[in-house]
Symmetry: C2
Subunit: 336 residues, 2 copies
């Protein structure tokens, strides 16, 4: 059974209505309706993932759905915003199987509940291209408290949550599985099965840091999520704030699996700090507040690590490894 | 020059930032920020258009952009909502020319100003498939005043704005131009150049009825926009309201051009009343309020025509032509 065996109404009522939230009006109207949150501002973000570009066509559909939602949740988290809900646009070729769509919806519904971010509405259309999933998330912050990309100040500590590079290394492993790799992959066979699984899982499914959104709001001067590579995103962050800075690469938090890979093949450090899909929070924090923020994050089981500092000037942020400048021509994922 | 010659940042800063609104934060942050409207509820809708499915790849990019925005504006209008702004997700193949994107953005910016619906944010991604444009529009209604698809009541007049069928007939003409038609198109050569242009233009560019959104809110009991064909959409509307009804096809408002086409080839009436892309407002109105609503619409130069009535029962709405039932097996556009 493919999607072309159902009408759009059947698709909505049978597959998506069961996972929809209150504001969706049962998905039988053209729009979603949401109370306007008092004392708050609305925070809106959209991210799209495309089959064959942002995920592998054979990836489990539930994980694809969750990734599509989570990349948006990560944007809200890094801005100090709480989710209110989301809209889904799903473009599919006519031969898409109903079982794929059902598993997609099941994963989406599970994360909507887990992150308290209900499905409010959507659109399903036909395409001759790959499956394309566009999610618009709506959130709220107390009025005046959005954590901006312009907020980094000279003297602030640059810090990042979780670990960096797992996803980029996981992508390298997945590309090799798909026969699309052209790099040296000797390190791949030296990883333990658990290390291998850790890296590929982190590529498949980001872990957005929504649990610490309010802490970021309370303590950080500026923030963004790391989605296109740590170095490149940090450069954007500081440039937008009109400042410069440095990152000390030996401080960048790595998982045990990423550490093992880099020990096996040291040039993977560059992959780790310039690859995409980390979905961690990069923030600038006044030194006097750093320990308090780290403690708040620890309460939510989220690590926070100081990796550098904000400095005066207009020069692009530079990276150092053991005190020597580490030259990186291109610090981030290119979208085209 | 193609899109792959620019970074995503350059694409945003050079092409989209100039058309962005206040809440977009200059498009240099990950999110848009919008004041939460007091005394109002938020109305959210998303619609996606795909090259080769919802528009012809050779259509002018400015018109494609405007169509993508207008189909969303039409949803807001039919719900009695005023636009606050929109987010854009634009998926493009790497060979997309920068001139195409620039013309796309110019058309989008023109309509954003014309409809007072600013660009708030977006995402641009690469695809191997056709250009895919997903727009999420945000609007507001005074709290409690959303005009719902559940609102039609027995005895109400069914009415529709503007004219019906132009776009479906325009699509038939465009398909013939592209050599994709398999129907009898003898009527095509009998149209005057102005009639031909009227029909194809209405397919290219809908005219959403945002000027009468507040009148719909004040006078209609229920409403939806006609996007998938009048008969099919009217059936959905009444089914969602738990009622039945009838449409008298001789009352359905037709443009002079559509009238001419149907006179030349009477079976085109079915195309007109079941084809998609009208983007008119279909509403149910208590008889005592109908003339007042019509007068309000007339003030905005929008026609409003009574085409049938809401009746008791669960049977699907039926259509009559000169008193004889007009059988239609499938009343609307199929999305897959």
């Amino acid at each position: 059974m493919t999607v072309s065996s159902l009408s759009e109404d059947e698709l909505i009522s049978q597959i998506f209505a069961p996972i929809a939230g209150d504001g969706a009006l049962g998905l039988h109207d053209d729009v979603a309706l949401l109370p306007s949150p008092q004392g708050s501002e609305l925070v809106l973000t959209v991210d799209t993932i495309v089959g064959g570009v942002h995920y592998f066509p054979g990836d489990p559909p539930g994980a694809v759905a969750r990734k599509a939602l989570r990349v948006n949740l990560s944007d809200l988290a890094s801005k100090g915003a709480e989710p209110l809900g989301f809209l889904l646009s799903l473009s599919m070729p006519p031969q898409t199987s109903l079982s794929w769509i059902a598993a997609f919806a099941e994963g989406l519904g599970a994360d909507a509940r887990a992150y308290d971010c209900p499905l409010l509405g959507g659109d399903t259309v036909r395409t001759q291209g790959p499956v394309t999933i566009s999610i618009t998330a709506v959130g709220r912050v107390p009025s005046g408290y959005l954590v901006r990309r312009t907020g980094a100040r000279v003297g602030d500590i640059l810090a990042v949550t979780g670990t960096i590079g797992d996803s980029a290394l996981g992508l390298a492993l997945r590309l090799a599985e798909e026969g699309q790799s052209n790099g040296n992959l000797g390190w791949r066979d030296e990883l333990t099965p658990l290390e291998y699984a850790h890296l590929t899982q982190r590529y498949l499914l980001p872990e957005p840091r929504n649990a610490i959104a309010s802490a970021i709001r309370d303590y950080a001067s500026g923030a963004m999520d790391v989605s296109d590579g740590l170095i490149g995103d940090a450069r954007k962050f500081l440039r937008t704030s009109g400042v410069s800075g440095r990152i000390d690469l030996e401080s960048v938090p790595l998982s045990q699996a990423a550490r093992a890979a880099i020990d096996l093949s040291p040039e993977l450090l560059k992959t780790a700090v310039t690859g995409g899909d980390d979905y961690e929070v990069l923030c600038s924090v006044p030194p006097a507040r750093f320990e308090a923020l780290r403690a708040q994050c620890a309460q939510e089981n989220v690590g926070l690590t100081a990796i550098g500092k904000v400095e005066e000037g207009n020069a692009p942020l530079s990276a150092f490894l053991e005190g020597t400048e580490y030259l990186i021509d291109r610090g981030s994922y290119s979208h085209f």
